[in-house]
Symmetry: C2
Subunit: 469 residues, 2 copies
């Protein structure tokens, strides 16, 4: 009997464990998870804080008990793996009853990513949060609940006054304009907080197109988020509790700070065992997700994967890739070697009443480094037929390689419900298959007046870009 | 100086004329249109009848004056081309001032399609409509307006009473459960008519998957449309005016009948000139849209095109293909030979508060005839992440070839706004590029909780079907 050991019980780990056991019921599957939660939808945490999801349990797709009883997986929560011994083919974990040593035939490292805490004074004060774990989500929701119980209107001395909005909850800061920052800005604004969002770079959603970033930034301002672009946070000032965000120009009193400053792969355990990291700093793995150590796999947010456009290693820590690659590893260790596919750098975000998605390569420097000659065009189109009721628009940015016409990447933004995200699915296919913009422009896409113009905005963008090549 | 003559001034014809003149301003471009309207959005007529679009002019994207003055196109409305003489390279048209003969260097036949009037007694009675032309739209809107001015509640003798609904406008019949029939059912029900929909076959939307047809049929019934499946209409009885729909089982008093029984290509003019028709009965053309006669092209609803899955000629009379192929012909005659791409048989429809789309090959007989071994699977998925608010579902049907795994076709249905149609864009790409379901299942599609489950329903469907092969 063969043993499959998994380190880390979230998306990649539990997908692998479940798939391996399902495909080969004779396999012993052991999962070590240092926390108490497994297989939870961390992507849902902003909506839990917002109040649209009522309990943390709602975010759990399969409970530890179900994994143990229904799926026959030896899931050991509260166990942190502290060492991998590849020569002995074993791992050592520290649990509530001390150390355990577990032998493996196949090992999956699925240690995920950790929130980056920027190196600025004051990040350890009370009231400074990241949003990484379920307990972070709980702390943030508690903060929201407490603030709403004691709103400044009733207790004027309880905290700093709002700067711009009347009758708001005390001002709060979000540091970082990526999707966590934007989703949390929505969650907090929805709870009547005056939200100040600080972005070090010139635009929010920097991986998306400039047109997308600008549309989202304008919408954030319309939704009363105070946006500070090109602004470095120098200090989170205060006593025990954070009291103010300090920038070069300003000292802004706040009641809370949410750090949405990115994540980094958790690679320490793997490195100690001699697992190679790749050029991105995440764990290197082949297309079967196997590392340089035989029978040791890596999947999910801790690992890199091949980019479908550049063909080079890329680190895009997102839920679908974790699920997909975890599942593929599960199939592989169950005896059916499977690849999980590359990554396209696809991402989607809801920002208040807008939605945006991106895929492939949009950054010209990245494109040039991969040997392409990038050209980018952006078009605005009505979301429905010209004569059909509705004022919605879809903005499409496409980037292509001039000599070949190959589509390299795309970014879309629209009002929420107007289809920017679902339309991006077609662009993922096009960048994955190496389709040219001329070919894309000839796609026989669906058309009906309530859904698009006769030429869907994607087709119009492809036609326009084709004309530029 | 070269002359490009176009027969027919709607989507294909005006796209070709505009593109040719834009790309080669020295070209003389002459368009003959037998009616008075050109370049109008016939797809919008149901929404004009519904009342969501206020005037027929709203459906016109470019007016005859704009074509003449801004685009320098010699557009002759009210001129019906009655003969093409390919040896003389000329056409003869009858206009208000008698016959004109016009020489051509390049000729485009874009005569469109005509509504099929079924061969049953009574179709020529007053109150029996088709929905093909702008004047059909006007007549239907007038009927709606008149009926609403004199509703049965106020004038009980004005027409047949409703059968099932209280306080409705007089009962009306829609014959045909394709998208025109369904869009018109929505338009009429929205105006408080009791709508009876008769479908000869076993299901509505027969080109879609069975799961899609069933979901839409159930929704039509929920919206109080009385649905008669597997029901042949034998007669439209009455005096001058239609008074009843007669089936084998029933005689249903109605105030109006809308025939949505399909269209057929208008090929008479072309046939007389010696233009070959293809196996579908529409005009045969190569990938440049050229017919068997040199410099004579055919595009739009009168012509067939190569199907991207079967590789065989296919006749799919829809707006995007007409625009795309017309534009390609325009480029070609302007000196830049261009193909307009194949057709995938893609279609989309809004049905009250649902939306549906289909693409590729779903019919197993058609698939087998093309040499495939079709396997079909259908899945239901939540439209958002499991924990995210909303009860919407997306139902995805995929059909693949067993030995190769190639995706042959797909059909999706969801509540309106939940993305069935925009998601179908990705399936169009997949069937066009010959992607397998295993490859599709590994696509790095966008995910965020407000838009889908981690595995978008498309991916889940591909995974499930992959498991069946």
């Amino acid at each position: 009997m063969s043993t499959f050991v998994v380190v880390g019980g979230d998306a990649a780990g539990m997908s692998a464990a479940s798939k391996a056991k399902r495909d080969d019921p004779d396999l012993d599957v052991v999962v070590f998870e240092k926390g108490e939660w497994v297989s939870y939808g961390a992507c849902g945490l902003p909506y839990y804080v917002k109040g649209e999801i009522q309990t943390l349990d709602d975010l759990v797709s399969v409970t530890p008990e179900e994994f143990r009883e229904d799926r026959d997986i030896d899931l050991r929560t509260g166990h942190e793996v502290v060492e991998i011994d590849p020569d002995d083919r074993s791992v050592t974990a520290e649990g509530p009853d001390g150390e355990v040593v577990q032998a493996y035939d196949h090992l999956l490292i699925a240690t995920g990513a950790a929130a980056v805490v920027p190196d600025i004074p004051g990040v350890d004060r009370e009231g400074v949060f990241t949003l990484e774990s379920m307990s972070d989500g709980r702390d943030l929701r508690d903060f929201v609940a407490r603030s709403r119980e004691s709103s400044p209107a009733e207790q004027p001395d309880s905290g700093p006054a709002c700067h711009f909005l009347e009758n708001c909850e005390g001002p709060v800061a979000v540091v970082g304009g990526g999707y966590i920052g934007i989703e949390m800005a929505e969650a907090l604004a929805h709870n009547d907080f005056e939200v100040h969002l600080f972005q070090r770079g010139e635009r929010v959603l920097k991986g998306f197109s400039e047109a997308t970033s600008e549309a989202v930034a304008e919408h954030l301002r319309d939704e009363d988020v105070v946006l500070y672009l090109d602004t470095e946070v120098r200090e989170l000032a205060g006593g025990d509790r954070v009291e103010a965000v300090v920038t070069d120009d300003d000292r802004l009193p706040v009641e809370m700070v949410l750090l949405g400053t990115g994540v980094r792969p958790r690679t320490g355990l793997a490195e100690s065992a001699g697992v190679d990291l790749g050029p991105t700093g995440a764990i290197a793995a082949d297309r079967y997700r196997e590392t340089n150590l035989p029978d040791v796999y890596a999947a999910g947010d801790c690992a890199e994967a091949r980019h479908v456009v550049t063909g080079t290693p890329s680190w895009v820590p997102l839920a679908l890739t974790a699920n997909r690659h975890g599942r593929a590893v599960g199939q592989t260790v169950a005896g059916n070697p499977s690849v999980g596919g590359g990554v396209a750098g696809t991402a989607a975000v809801k920002a208040f009443q807008m939605e945006a998605a991106r895929t492939g390569v949009l950054d010209h420097d990245v494109a040039r480094e991969a040997g392409f000659e990038p050209v980018t065009e952006t078009i605005d189109a009505k979301a429905q037929a010209g004569y059909y009721p509705g004022e919605g628009t879809v903005t499409v940015t496409l980037c292509a390689d001039r000599p070949t016409g190959r589509l390299l990447g795309g970014s879309l933004v629209s009002e929420f419900g107007e289809g920017a995200v679902h339309r991006s699915h077609a662009l993922v296919g096009a960048v994955t298959e190496g389709v040219t913009v001329a070919e894309l422009a000839n796609y026989d896409l669906a058309y009906a007046p309530p859904f698009n113009t006769t030429w869907d905005p994607i087709l119009t963008a492809a036609k326009v870009l084709e004309g530029e090549l």
